[in-house]
């Protein structure tokens, strides 16, 4: 009797059609994790969506009036007063935990909430990009979050927040390349690119070569690198410095 019922159940559960438009939407959706979409879902729910970032240091692509917002940015990291770094770390740790507290039911980061710690402070002028990591709950992998702090729109943790998941440990000398556009909630005409990821033992330097020819030196610390730059220029190559020298890896376009 049970077998017959089980057959009926199998047939019933497979009967009817699932909506084709839903399948279409789900299959064409851009699930790539290092783009702005997942971040914006979090940011949107929080009301901490990335604010409009006007102006970049590249004169060729920004209006003169917009340059001021990023005037202090530099392609090489600078140093920040301890108090500013400490404040950025606190702001970003709070922002990440707050984001996850609200979105845990949907995003499912319950295992990592409260365990985030800053691992890299990438300072460029008056901006600090804070990279935080936390155990992912899956093996020895870690989730990471990048949080851009600075003057104006970025002063109270309402700046860019991007989340990434599942980085595992790397072999010595290796770098896990990754970057994504920070797209302000008010539009993608202006923005910035954030590059973060883990590095293997022995890596002492990471430099990005952008499509516009600019070289951006990342900050490397605690097994990770972090860098960011205004605009939408993507890296075409990455330079890795170890104790054995410097190697260059080109990225497919």
């Amino acid at each position: 009797v049970t077998t017959r019922l089980e057959d009926e159940l199998r047939a019933a559960l497979r009967s009817g059609d699932v909506p084709r438009d839903a399948i279409e939407r789900l299959t064409v959706f851009d699930y790539r994790p290092h783009r702005s979409t997942p971040s914006l879902r979090i940011a949107g729910a929080l009301g901490v969506a990335m604010m409009v970032v006007v102006g970049i240091i590249l004169v060729s692509v920004v209006s003169p009036g917009a340059q001021g917002a990023y005037a202090s940015w530099s392609a090489v990291p600078t140093s920040a007063p301890p108090q500013q770094a400490s404040s950025a770390n606190a702001v970003c740790t709070h922002a990440v935990n707050k984001a996850l507290a609200i979105n845990t039911a949907i995003i499912g980061y319950a295992g990592t909430r409260g365990l985030w710690k800053p691992v890299v402070d990438d300072t460029r002028g008056s901006f600090i990009l804070v990279l935080l990591t936390a155990p992912s709950g899956i093996g020895s992998t870690t989730d990471s979050a990048a949080c851009l702090t600075g003057p104006g729109a970025f002063s109270d943790g309402r700046g860019g927040l991007t989340m990434n998941g599942g980085s595992a440990g790397l072999a010595p000398g290796k770098v896990s390349w990754g970057w994504g556009e920070g797209c302000p909630a008010t539009g993608c005409n202006h923005g910035y690119v954030v590059a973060t990821g883990p590095v293997g033992r022995g890596v002492t330097g990471v430099t990005f070569v952008l499509t516009n020819g600019m070289h951006v030196v990342a900050t490397v610390a605690d097994g990770h690198y972090a860098a960011w730059w205004p605009g939408k220029a993507h890296p075409v190559a990455g330079k890795v410095t170890t104790t054995k020298g410097t190697t260059t890896q080109t990225f497919p376009g």
Binding site: L13, P33, R41, I138
Partner: protein, 187 residues
């Protein structure tokens, strides 16, 4: 995150999404009885899976990973539904069942509708087990692993669900026998 740069892995993920979505959406529906909610849940589950794809793909059972993300919120929300007194009813799904214009087929559709309606009224844990067992065709042992439950719990939960559904099925069959015979003439 560097999997973005590797076309082969990215293509693998996209194929997985394409292959798995129809069944996973159906699974999501039977956990929520709402296609819009199921679509949202599945999209979030796939987003999470994408973030960890380099790890998930090595586990060998990415579909199980997504299913688990789908099932956990359903189990977590079950209490809320009860407290709010919101009776979950299968609705538009039944409207989509094809009217085949034949008595036998119509009765079968009706019986399936009764069965699914009964399923929707079971406790959420029984629903989850039934869906995993008979839609996803997982063994009891596989369900136990996927849900992190003892095997005995899966067996007893399945048994309770089947006993209830058996009563519905029997009632439905009796009712169909009592129906007056109707000739159907196809034009």
């Amino acid at each position: 995150m560097d999997w973005l740069r590797r076309e082969s892995i990215r293509g693998e993920f996209e194929r997985f999404v394409s292959d798995a979505t129809p069944t996973l959406l159906r699974t999501g529906y039977y956990l929520t009885w709402d296609f819009a909610h199921a679509e949202d849940l599945l999209q979030e589950a796939l987003l999470r899976t994408a973030k960890r794809w380099p790890v998930v793909r090595k586990m060998g059972h990415p579909r199980a990973y997504v299913r688990r993300i789908l099932v956990n919120p359903a189990l977590a929300e079950a209490g809320t539904r009860v407290r709010e007194g919101n009776e979950l009813e299968p609705d538009e799904f039944f409207d989509q069942l094809t009217d085949q214009g034949q008595e036998e087929a119509a009765l079968r559709v009706e019986a399936q509708s009764d069965l699914l309606a009964a399923l929707s009224k079971l406790p959420i844990r029984q629903q989850v087990v039934v869906v995993l067992r008979y839609l996803e065709d997982l063994s009891e042992a596989a369900v136990a692993v996927e849900l992190g439950w003892p095997l005995g719990t899966v067996k007893s939960t399945t048994a309770r669900a089947l006993i209830h559904l058996q009563q519905v099925s029997a009632t439905s069959q009796e009712a169909s026998r009592d129906e007056p015979h109707v000739e159907v003439n196809e034009q």
